[in-house]
């Protein structure tokens, strides 16, 4: 999106010039330049180890640069610390203090008068919709609420610049969207926001983004500029034989830049849509693969990012998995069969009447907000905890799910980190290979493969604790599938993994599914959920919607309207007062509105409402549902129904 016209005249808030930082021989930041203007949301996007956190620490004044300048409103970053609010990945809240006490404490540290702390505190808590919880201990808040509280704490000091270093890692989609709505609001009030995120759907909500890799900024621009710079279109190819189609289109074919496989389609990047479509039809036709439908769309930011990283030489390998015992003969049979699972913890019902069927060769995505019961469900499905009522079938076993033979067939990668930090990478792999009873040679083959997949060839002796998160995650994934499980559980496998590595992950997951492995995966990232064959949406312990990514989108009864208005924030605030809060979300200057009624009527009504307040509607159109919009709509509707029932 383009920044509002007024913004380009705003004073420069953050100025970074030829900034360098070395840690001994390692150069983390290698001479970067950028400027952020007042009221702008500026995104720093890049893989792990790109130098984002170092940049943040220098700007926050907690670290000195080796050379170059970093100023905030023309003052050295260190001298301007009173004007900056800095939020790290781990929110520095006091879990034993209440929400109000946390805010009071931060204000006291900055010597702000009590009356003022209370006034600002209650204003922000209200703005973030957590004012009901002022007396709750911070440790008892959900991830999303903690993050909002941390933001409120940072804002109490009334900073002019907000530095957010991957603030939404591990936060569910509903909370993430609310968080970004808040950021948009704050930016319009004149706050300058610099934010790092590994998630490109979030980057779309920045005014401008800079792509950072190995300490250097490679590209800067608005998201649409970046998308256009790719000079390509995205073809959504729907076909029933995804794997074969992917193989047929991959490789170096003229006119095809990139192929990415999703749960029920392929995304093919082509320089020119018409010729590209013909090329795809030709290639698939030659391979005898039927095409259901091809749709032309704009590239996503992710495509640009991947193309850019590839252009500068970053490769993430997804070497062929050296599996010897494919489960193809099981293909189509039920691997995970759960009927009416319910689980109580005391008086609390964590999971209610959940039925899931996952077949061999299928990738099933379980989605839900924090606290929706996903983790409990996955633990029941893999036999770690027993359901209170309901029946389970797992890998052909109905009786004892905890038997050795069943567990030998299961692979599990837990949400919490599942490798031993105090062992080397090699020792970890030896251990997991050994504990599943693999032979020496088999362990060596698989180890070789995992190291290649993780990009850690020759680094077998590295201590696991010393690896950055993204690498660890890939080793953990490798360790979980060394024994060629026929049923694989992945609990947020790609949390904190950069886009290129995430692609490698999903290519692997697809490979395994093609071999006949049944895969159940949970994620907070809906762009990723598109890669599943089927999805289940969980709300308050129940599955409320299920189907293919395309299917759940089609099943939406309402419409999604995008409106571009002259005063987006005021327009959004106004529309929110009209209807339910969740229906309106602000993406920079564009407002997304979910309506249950007729699209035309809704657009007319919106125009009228805004016109009455003196806001001009520049553009309004119906747009296709994104999975995130579907998710939020489904979750909110289910919550409403539950409230009505109660």
């Amino acid at each position: 999106m383009t920044p509002p016209a007024s913004q380009t005249d705003n004073p420069v808030s953050i100025h970074v010039s030829e900034l360098r930082k070395s840690y001994g021989a390692v150069e983390a930041v290698r001479g970067i330049n950028f400027e952020v203007r007042q009221g702008e949301i500026f995104g720093l996007i890049g893989p792990d180890g790109a130098g984002k956190t170092t940049t943040f620490q220098i700007l926050a004044g907690v670290m000195e640069a080796t050379s170059g300048t970093a100023t905030i409103y023309n003052r050295a970053a260190r001298a301007a610390r009173q004007q900056t609010g800095y939020l790290t990945q781990t929110f520095s809240l006091y879990p034993d203090l209440t929400v109000a006490e946390n805010i009071r404490y931060v204000g006291d540290l900055r010597l702000i008068p009590h009356a003022e702390i209370d006034e600002r505190g209650s204003r922000y808590l209200k703005m973030f919709d957590i004012d009901r919880f002022t007396d709750r201990l911070a440790g008892r808040l959900s991830g999303g609420m903690k993050q909002k509280l941390a933001l409120a704490c940072a804002l109490v000091a009334q900073p002019q610049v907000l530095l957010l270093d991957e603030p939404t890692t591990g936060v569910d989609p509903v909370s993430r969207r609310e968080f970004w709505d808040t950021l948009a609001h704050l930016a319009l009030d004149g706050l300058t926001i610099l934010v790092a995120t590994p998630y490109l759907d979030e980057a779309e909500r920045c005014h401008r983004v800079a792509l950072m890799y190995e300490g250097t900024i490679h590209q800067t621009g608005t998201p649409s500029e970046l998308r256009r710079s790719l000079g390509a279109k995205r073809l959504e190819v729907h076909t029933s034989a995804l794997g074969e189609a992917e193989d047929a289109l991959s490789g170096h074919h003229e006119g095809i830049l990139d192929v990415q496989r999703f749960g029920d389609r392929l995304d093919v990047m082509v320089p020119e849509p018409v010729a590209g479509q013909q090329q795809v039809e030709l290639l698939l036709g030659a391979a005898g693969i039927p095409i259901d439908n091809i749709r032309v769309d704009e590239p996503a930011l992710e495509n640009t990012f991947v193309a850019k990283l590839r252009a500068i030489g970053r490769v993430v390998k997804s070497p062929k998995y050296p599996g010897q015992h494919p489960h193809r003969d099981l293909m189509g049979q039920v691997a995970i069969g759960a009927s009416s699972l319910t689980r109580h913890f005391g008086a609390f019902t964590a999971v209610r009447d959940v039925s899931v069927d996952v077949k061999y060769g299928e990738i099933y995505g379980l989605l839900g907000a924090n606290g929706a019961g996903k983790t409990t469900t996955i633990k029941m499905l893999c036999g770690l905890i027993e359901p209170s009522t309901g029946r389970m079938e797992l890998a052909g076993e109905r009786g004892s799910l905890r038997s050795r033979t069943v567990r030998q067939k299961l692979g599990y990668m837990s949400q919490k980190f599942s490798l031993y930090d105090d062992l080397t990478v090699g020792e970890n792999l030896n251990f997991f290979g050994g504990v599943y009873g693999l032979s020496r040679e088999e362990i060596e083959t698989k180890k070789h493969w995992v190291l290649e997949f993780a990009g850690l060839e020759g680094k077998e002796a590295a201590l696991t604790a010393s690896l950055p998160g993204g690498w660890k995650q890939r080793v953990a994934f490798g360790a979980a599938i060394m024994h060629e499980p026929s049923v694989l559980f992945l609990d947020e496998p790609t949390s904190g993994v950069d886009p290129l590595a995430r692609r490698a992950f999903w290519r692997m997951i697809n490979q395994l599914a093609d071999m006949g492995t049944a895969i159940l995966v949970t994620t907070h990232y809906l762009e990723e959920a598109e890669q599943c064959n089927r999805l289940g949406f969980m709300v308050a312990g129940s599955i409320v919607a299920e189907g293919t990514p395309g299917g759940v989108k089609r099943a939406q009864t309402g419409h999604l309207i995008e409106t571009v208005a002259s005063e987006p924030q005021r327009a959004a605030d106004l529309l929110r007062t009209e209807g339910e809060r969740w229906r309106i979300s602000l993406f920079g200057d564009r407002i997304h509105n979910v309506t249950d009624g007729d699209a035309e009527t809704s657009m007319r009504e919106t125009r009228a409402t805004l016109a009455a307040a003196g806001i001009a509607v520049l553009e309004a159109r119906e747009i296709p549902w994104s999975l995130e919009d579907v998710f939020i709509s489904v979750v909110e509707k289910a919550k409403r129904e539950e409230r009505l029932a109660a």
Binding site: R407, K416, F417, G434
Partner: protein, 378 residues
């Protein structure tokens, strides 16, 4: 199973703190307790008032200062002067030998010797008194044999706040004057060390898996809970047994404790004690989520365990109702076994009740902790 054990060893190998805690505490505790908790008081400054100035009085003074417990702090002209210096803290104790000491002794009459003690530190005073009694007793014996002399000993103890009073003392006959053995403390510390250090190391190791969040991953592997537990306990047990050997060597070399009995009995007891420690640690770990919590828990458990062990203070010094409690304390039984086997040379024929009790306690603790651990895993 092999993979599990190999993994535990690799983890232990990389755990610097664990390795340190297998070497430093034994050295530190044995040396510190052995030397510092020693009840022996050496080189007390003794002021002397000799009114008698006879060969007998000089002989008695020599006997006093040669014991090593006292050293001469000079002669005084009067008992008052001596008293002043005691209250000023210049000397720790004083002895007054009256005129006619030798005369009375030669007449076969009872001779009185006055001893002044600074009882600011009641313990030191009591010990000094004991020494004096012992020295006098020995001296009497020698004299009695050779020349029918008999001295009686009386004392002026200055009570706290320097109130001086005279307390009549009953003559006591102490064997081994001037020597309180560090052997008692060191043999007791040995047991404390094995059990307490074992429990600390074990609780840290047990809680680690849960703290790191790897326990779920482990539970999803085909490894059984029994295997997991054995794989956790076995390497720790072996390591702690290494510590037993190390500590034994230390005891022998530094404190020169005589190894009169069968060392195997001591090692058997030590192995059981180590297992007890591991069981206690494992048990505690099941109630906690982090290593820090586990350590805090052991702060509650360790003091009663050590004070009710008879390791540092005699069980007989405890109130009667409390004494039976020590019977369920593994450290007590181990203390009895080590002391008897090392110092007295007792064998299985005498020590079997203690070994049996220790084995019983170990078994109960192990079963309890494994049951808790399993329950938690499942």
């Amino acid at each position: 199973m092999a993979a599990l054990i190999a993994k535990e060893f690799a983890q232990i190998g990389r755990d610097k703190r664990l390795r340190i805690s297998l070497i430093v505490p034994p050295v530190l505790q044995l040396l510190l307790f052995g030397f510092a908790l020693n009840a022996t008081v050496d080189n007390l400054r003794l002021g002397i008032v000799d009114f008698d100035r006879s060969p007998e009085s000089r002989d008695l003074i020599a006997a006093m200062t040669q014991s090593g417990a006292f050293k001469s702090a000079g002669a005084y002209a009067s008992a008052e002067k001596l008293g002043e210096d005691i209250s000023r803290g210049k000397v720790d104790a004083g002895i007054v030998l009256p005129v006619g000491l030798s005369r009375d002794l030669h007449r076969g009459q009872q001779a009185d010797v006055q001893v002044l003690l600074n009882a600011m530190n009641a313990n030191t005073a009591a010990i000094a008194q004991g020494y004096t009694e012992g020295v006098l007793g020995t001296w009497n014996q020698v004299k009695l044999k050779s020349g029918e002399l008999h001295a009686r000993f009386s004392q002026i103890g200055s009570a706290p706040r320097n109130l001086r009073g005279i307390a009549a003392l009953h003559p006591a006959f102490l064997f081994n004057p001037g020597l309180v053995s560090s052997w008692f403390v060191v043999t007791g510390t040995f047991g404390l060390l094995l059990t307490l250090n074992g429990s600390l190391v074990a609780s840290a190791a047990m809680v680690k898996e849960r703290e790191a969040g790897t326990v779920e991953q482990l539970l999803m592997t085909p490894a059984g809970t029994g295997e997991i537990i054995v794989a956790k306990i076995a390497p720790l047990f072996l390591l702690l047994c290494g510590m037993v050997l190390f500590a034994t060597a230390l005891i022998k070399v530094v404190f020169q404790i005589p190894f009169r009995g069968n060392l195997l009995i001591v090692f058997l007891g030590a192995a059981l004690c180590v297992l007890c420690g591991i069981a206690i640690g494992t048990f505690l770990a099941t109630f906690t989520r982090t290593a820090r919590q586990a350590q805090l828990m052991s702060f509650f458990v360790n003091p009663p365990l050590s004070s009710l062990s008879g390791a540092l203070t005699p069980v007989e010094a405890m109130p009667h109702w409390m004494q039976p409690l020590t019977l369920v304390n593994p450290i007590r039984h181990f203390g009895v076994i080590t002391r008897a086997a090392l110092l007295k040379g007792s064998g299985l024929d005498i020590l079997w009740p203690n070994i049996l009790a220790l084995a019983g306690i170990t078994l109960v603790l192990l079963v309890l902790s494994v049951w808790r651990f399993r329950k938690q895993l499942g």
